[in-house]
């Protein structure tokens, strides 16, 4: 069981809520599948954050009421969505030109592992049935800022933030920020900097559940969600 959090769902929601604070007004943001897809639920309507969906939409709006669902309008997670004010539609080629051309300010994505240098593995597990890469490598290569949203450990409590990746990497670029339900790390000069610890965690627990080396910020804070 995750200390202080009754279940995985609460952990995921906490991560999503913390990342919301990193999304500044005017930012063009791509949200990946998994925990990042929860973020939309916690964005204020007046946040002026513009969500890009890799399947061809800038200005994604929230899940519509049931009688307005149109399966010709879906997110990258293939869920029904709506069109926000000022939204625009385009092809997959134009969408990835937006991504690969460096026009996405922030990409929030899940990961299987992150290394102590911030390298990301989020597409394949050797020997397992993950036959997909999707848009992960495009975003890793080209988004201006990369935020990783992950639970601190796997279901069997194996650390996900580790010294060296053992799963195939998604690219040579590193994450800028790693947010878990227990901690927030910034990646600076190929090093992890622990900046925040959740109220119900402790430095001792972070050390125990993080295989990667990290340094502790002089300005270490308690993670604030709201």
């Amino acid at each position: 069981m995750l200390s202080g959090l009754s279940n995985l769902r609460d952990a995921r929601i906490r991560i999503a809520k913390r990342i919301v604070k990193e999304l500044h007004a005017g930012a063009v943001v791509n949200l990946g599948v998994g925990i990042p897809s929860l973020i939309q639920n916690y964005l204020k309507p007046d946040s002026h954050v513009y969500l890009q969906s890799e399947n061809g939409l800038l200005g994604m709006g929230p899940t519509p009421p049931k009688d307005e669902i149109d399966m010709n309008l879906i997110s990258a997670s293939k869920h029904p969505i709506s069109l926000g004010i000022g939204s625009s539609l385009f092809s997959s080629a134009d969408s990835f030109a937006m991504i690969r051309g460096g026009h996405i300010d922030i990409a929030v994505m899940g990961a299987l592992q992150v290394s102590e240098k911030g390298e990301i593995a989020n597409w394949a597990v050797p020997g397992k049935d993950i036959l997909g890469v999707g848009g992960a490598m495009d975003l890793v290569a080209s988004a201006k800022k990369i935020i990783i949203a992950i639970t601190h450990v796997t279901k069997d409590r194996t650390p996900k933030i580790i010294q060296k990746l053992t799963y195939p990497s998604s690219g040579t670029r590193a994450a800028n920020l790693i947010v878990t339900e227990k901690a927030l790390f910034e990646v600076k000069d190929n090093t992890l900097l622990l900046k925040e610890i959740a109220e119900d965690s402790s430095l001792q627990e972070i050390k125990q559940l993080t295989e990667a080396h990290f340094i502790i910020s002089d300005d270490l804070q308690t993670m604030k969600i709201n």
Binding site: E68, I69, A93, L131, S142
Partner: protein, 236 residues
Amino acid sequence: MTIGECKKRISAKDAVKMIQKGDSLLVGGFGICGTPFTLIDTITESNHARELTIISNNLGEAGKGLGKLLISKHIKKAIGSYFTTNRDAVKAWNNGELEIELIPQGSLAEAIRAGGAGIAGFYTKTGVGTEIAKGKEERDFEGETYIFVRGIRARLALIKADKADTMGNLVYARTARNFNPMMATAADIVIAEVDEIVEAGTLDPEQIITPHNYVDYVVLNDRYEKIGGEYVERTK
């Protein structure tokens, strides 16, 4: 004007007759959004159009769209970016019944765009330093490493648009556009399935995404109708 005056209009059955054993097909769609359901279902009923190489972002969903074509054993190889969520695809791959080639989604979209635009290939940063880069030419530009990706073309493209006009100009619906416009440019024979055919001149030229010269044939989607926002198979 009646839809009969669309000279490019053919039946789904006649469209599928053009597919040969072992053909490569570009098929539009993101999951089952923007996918030519009627054409795909018609292929599942054919005996000749087997051992196909399908180039599509996914293989639809389990039992839906291209997922149906997988179950009916018409697919030999799938080239796309994401197959994990279709458990049938994973199973077929594990059993050695399906070859899979993974291409990052942006490289897939751009390769098809290039294929249709007379561009042999392009250099991209996507995939550098990963398993995807293995065997690919690398080249540095201004201190950064790029890999070379070849353009993609196929003999046929099966795409899905919302409407065609009687000349074959196409407009799309919302995110059902996805890969369809590029695929319309990157095949020798382009067959567009549409929900509706309208008279030429009634579509706003500003809104036409695929000009008519890219479209060889138009097939009317007569097997599925939209109910409650979803495409549902019509009862015969």
